[in-house]
Symmetry: C2
Subunit: 347 residues, 2 copies
Amino acid sequence: MGVHKQRVAIIGSGNWGSAIAKIAGYNCARHTELFETRVNMYVYEEMVDGRKLTDIINTEHVNTKYLPHARLPENVVAVPSAEEAACDATLLVFVLPHQFILNVCKSLRNAIAPDAHAISMIKGVEVAEHEISIYADVIQDALGIPCAALSGANIANEVASGLFSETTVGYRPHQRRLAEYYVRLFDTPQFRVGMIEDVAGVSLCGALKNIVAVGAGFVDGLGWGGNAKAAIMRIGLMEMRRFSLEFFDNVKPETFTETSAGVADLITTCYGGRNRKCAEAFVKTRKPFNVLEAELLNGQKLQGTETAKDVYEFLEARGKVDEYPLFKTIYEISFKGLDPEKLTENL
Amino acid sequence: MGVHKQRVAIIGSGNWGSAIAKIAGYNCARHTELFETRVNMYVYEEMVDGRKLTDIINTEHVNTKYLPHARLPENVVAVPSAEEAACDATLLVFVLPHQFILNVCKSLRNAIAPDAHAISMIKGVEVAEHEISIYADVIQDALGIPCAALSGANIANEVASGLFSETTVGYRPHQRRLAEYYVRLFDTPQFRVGMIEDVAGVSLCGALKNIVAVGAGFVDGLGWGGNAKAAIMRIGLMEMRRFSLEFFDNVKPETFTETSAGVADLITTCYGGRNRKCAEAFVKTRKPFNVLEAELLNGQKLQGTETAKDVYEFLEARGKVDEYPLFKTIYEISFKGLDPEKLTENL
């Protein structure tokens, strides 16, 4: 039985992209029966201290700009062109900031091998005219190749430091064999990869948890304590699951309640992270979110409140806002002046 | 259709017992179509500042010893004899420290009404000769009346302060109507009561979560961060569920992943509480748990490590220790000198 070795390209090299390149490089070097050793990593070229970032990475094996405290394996090769990085790859790992995805996919469409396949590590959802799409579908449609998803309780710096984590690969129907490659590409003793046939569920967990984290941050700001926070998280997890089952196909309920992408990532996000933190500051300072984003995030948009707005508008267009009372209330507190004290009133 | 009003007695008056008496008293006073207004509360008599505790409660309506910052409704009446408190009750709420249960049940056996029924709020499990029993079954067997269970993410002082919480009533097969009384007895806008036909699952959640909290405390002591802690909690939740389904009848898997008694209480316990705290101190100081119990808990036994030991011996007697690698590892770190750094090695 012939086995063609997979050629891996990482499309993206930020904080999470570099952490995942470290793991993929390590595994491609040790699983030589499955993977070609060399791992291309597409790096958007920029100058760092007067040097090209690709040169720094390829000589010092550290992404000094986005992951300065971790060493990358020498078989990870920084390439300043996405097309060049991807052109002979069979396995494309997408880990770009979401605003760059469509343009990069456009540049790759005619560059990639026809039998290539992809996995998306991009959290969040794409919203256009009250339609919500997961990025695995966006990539799949743009490139015409199957795209899986990976998500989990994965704070990038902790993963890069070799601290214990789990994550979840969501794969398409009839692609279990392919999913096993993804597991082998990422699984290490310190980074445990589970898999489930549910691309949409895994992807939606990574987006919707941020709404719940805003609610958890409100509880922290209100000083309501551990019972209330756990209750918001539980109710939020149930709304995440119900929303996904109602509006997406092939979603498995257990993705939410049993996997790292589901309940575990929800926990890390509600106890750490910027969504929780900004929401706490919102309650304590009563400053609007755009002011807090300017002050605390250098003007970056907060994912949780953006997703709350997208989901609210999506539900409103379908007359279903009241069926998701926690999502609704988090949106109304964030943008409509509802008193945070009313967080639990309609649950 | 005749409806007999329920006469409620609370058997126990500690921190949690007093908090729950506050709620039951409030509901019996407002749901007069369902409950007699008076709620007896059995109080183990003791002298507090030269006065009987029952007198203090019945004149000042505060349990100055165990819940000093909350006012009890005046229809909650402290009674120094369990038999007298329970003798004409139809609905008995057990909320005693577990070491007193058997003796109190013995004294009640011939005192209670034959059509009485009970609900247990006692966390933990009874262990004798490598058999594990939930307290709802212990009470049911000792008194010969059906006994439900209530458990949830319920830090007593937060509940008593009127902060938002949820909880879960687990009821016996064919007792849904009775369970609705329990919901009405405890449900308030700030204390939301769900119900599920699963007494064993609800009870076991309240016991087994403490083992997982010890593991979460180890992660905190090791400084492994948020990913690892969420992973231990997820794996722990799955072992809790598997253990309960394997060894108890009529357990529902969703009790663990969907209810306040399950995932929500696990979260509060892994982020607050003495099990987490002592386990963190264990890793940082390397003092044995009996020393930490003396130093941090006034010599009280830590529930999480005790339950880890009980469960380990239960599994060992059945040759199943290796099927629960997290429970096993937490026990071995706690009592067998295993290095905490090996926490995830066999998962």
